[in-house]
Amino acid sequence: MTRAFLTFAIFLSLVSLSFAAPSLHIRNPQYDLGTITQKDKAEHVFVFQNRGSSDLVIEKLVPS
């Protein structure tokens, strides 16, 4: 019984994973600021959108 339930639960989660998935869309993941001077602010705002069908969670931002 437990086993059947577990199998069902796993099946359910697989189904929900494959159908209701978030989808990250970033128009320009690469951006060139061009030539700037040391006095300029070197920054850029990347715009992204969740084009999927469930909530998108940003888990980590790691600069390198």
């Binding site: 978030p22 970033i26 060139d32 600021l33 040391q38 990347f46 969740n50 998108l56 969670v57 980590k60």
Partner: protein, 162 residues
């Protein structure tokens, strides 16, 4: 950096990537790895490229200019009230780091403690090394200067620099 860490379907978000380019020159690339719960692309790398021209350091100022105005942020601001090797890393490395115009710490260690102390206190004529002693218009206290000499030439004070 990110405007929101959770987005509903269709929602838009922003990630701001900023780079400190003070003292930098040439091509620079800043990357930020974004991890999400998107099953297809759990990781996306944002790339911000730029070319930095150095309009500040191309001019030849008097050495003591670095204590003033916007220069002070990089040259004396980071090490405020620090001592010893921490102060060296914070302020001196601005010019004495790898690939910079100043002598490296390895080159400094070929000199005598007295020479190093004199250079710090009075500056070095004909170079962009200013005098850091208040008597020569500098911002450091006596204790800070002595601490720097000890950090650069460990034997001088009997203490270890690194």
């Amino acid at each position: 950096m990110a405007s929101s860490s959770r987005l509903k379907p269709g929602e838009k978000g922003k990630i701001k990537v900023a780079v400190d380019v003070r003292g930098r020159r040439g091509r620079m690339v800043k990357k930020v790895q974004v991890s999400t719960n998107d099953p297809k692309t759990p990781r996306v790398i944002l790339v911000l490229k730029m070319r930095v021209t150095d309009r500040i350091h191309m001019k030849k100022y008097g050495a003591a200019e670095i204590f003033k105005g916007s220069c002070s942020g990089c040259h004396i601001g980071r090490g405020k009230s620090m001592k010893g090797f921490a102060l060296f890393l914070a302020d001196c490395m601005t010019c004495h780091g790898t690939g910079k115009s100043g002598l490296s710490i390895v080159q400094m260690r070929t000199k005598k403690a007295g020479e190093i102390e004199r250079a710090i206190r009075q500056g070095v004529r004909g170079t962009s090394m200013p005098g850091w002693d208040p008597k020569h218009g500098g911002p450091l206290t006596d204790e800070q200067i002595r601490g720097l000499v000890d950090a650069i030439i460990p034997a001088a004070g009997g203490r270890k620099g690194i």
